[in-house]
């Protein structure tokens, strides 16, 4: 049984601090080249390997990440 997760990032509230990146165990999240309305690069799950561990959401200073998880 594996865990499959998805994150939803509130793009306009992400400030691109990159604190979350180092804490992702599968290194699936990264900053994207695009910028939000305030000019910050924002974080996204770009490799689709999220396990829904919630590490990024717990450490995010702005609380912009919502995490969903299913067992598959």
């Amino acid at each position: 049984m594996a865990l499959k997760g998805e994150i939803v990032v509130d793009i306009e509230k992400c400030k691109g601090c990159e604190v979350c990146l180092a804490h992702c165990p599968t290194e699936t999240i990264a900053m994207v080249d695009a910028v939000n309305g305030k000019g910050y690069h924002y974080m996204q799950d770009i490799h689709g390997k999220c396990t829904g561990c919630t590490n990024c959401a717990v450490v995010c200073p702005d609380g912009v990440i919502t995490v969903y998880r299913v067992k598959v």
């Binding site: 594996a2 601090c17 990159e18 919630t54 450490v59 995010c60 200073p61 702005d62 912009v64 919502t66």
Partner: protein
């Protein structure tokens, strides 16, 4: 089939495992990117939410970066004069002993201008909780030296580093508070990694629970970064904090159940 589950199927309310608590308002935080204040706000509000205390809690906001805490915390808040949050919280707690009362203060507020209020509230054993966010600098006004600034640390008023001969030693406020008989639970935490955030949240919960048992003052210090004051990126600032702040401000419980923890 494992391969056929779609993104839309996963993003469903029944699969939700983590979401920002509704005790935080939807306002965009006024803090710099990567600032520990946001995480500290959130874990306090998560504990208030989990304990069902939204209507029974009164917070006191300080002066400093977190002066706008009342815009972000979705509970009853009061704004104190600079450093006077413990005095105000004393009055609130004495008038409403059934309410949960906490102050949320930075190091410039609690350890400099408000030292007298803090020490005397702790010595009287008032039944409220102090959350002390220590980043070793005056962040809001442009990174000046604070009492908690480390020796040799550069700030805008100590451009060659702090020397104790002229500028004094850094003040370990939490150890000082722990010496007073009025305090019951004194601890130091951080919020830079998921592990430390979870530990800090547990400490916040312990502090609020002990306050409800009227045990005395509970004090939670959270060592935080100030990346704009320290002139670093958020990730560098967190690393600098681990390398320099933690040796001087070691994490862990300092006083538990009214007894100093023996090291």
């Amino acid at each position: 089939m494992a391969d056929t589950i779609t993104k839309a199927e996963i993003i469903n309310p029944e699969n939700l495992v983590y979401k920002k608590t509704s005790m935080m308002t939807n306002n965009v935080l006024s803090y710099c990117p990567g600032c520990g204040h946001g995480t500290a706000h959130r874990i306090i509000m998560e504990v208030i939410d989990e304990m069902g205390l939204q209507a029974k809690t009164i917070g006191v906001a300080p002066v400093g970066c977190s002066v706008l805490a009342y815009d972000f915390m979705n509970i009853d808040m009061q704004q104190a004069a600079h450093g006077r949050a413990p005095a105000l919280a004393t009055a609130i707690k004495r008038l409403h002993p059934e309410k949960t009362v906490f102050t949320y203060q930075g190091d410039g507020d609690l350890a400099a201008i408000g030292t007298a209020e803090t020490i005397h509230a702790a010595n009287r054993g008032e039944n409220f909780t102090i959350f002390f966010i220590n980043n070793g600098i005056y962040g809001m006004t442009g990174g000046q030296m604070a009492p908690t600034t480390l020796e040799g640390m550069k700030s805008s008023t100590t451009p060659y580093g702090r020397e104790w001969q002229r500028m004094g030693h850094p003040l370990k406020m939490t150890e000082l508070i722990a010496q007073l008989p009025g305090t019951y639970y004194v601890t130091r935490q951080a919020v830079h990694t998921p592990v430390s955030v979870r530990k800090a949240k547990k400490a916040v919960r312990t502090a609020i629970e002990l306050q409800q048992q009227n045990k005395g003052l509970t004090f939670v210090e959270i060592v935080s970064n100030c990346n704009s004051g320290w002139k670093m990126t958020p990730v560098q600032a967190n690393q600098w904090m681990v390398d320099n702040m933690f040796p001087f401000y070691p994490l862990g419980d300092i006083k538990v159940d009214g007894e100093l923890v023996k090291k």
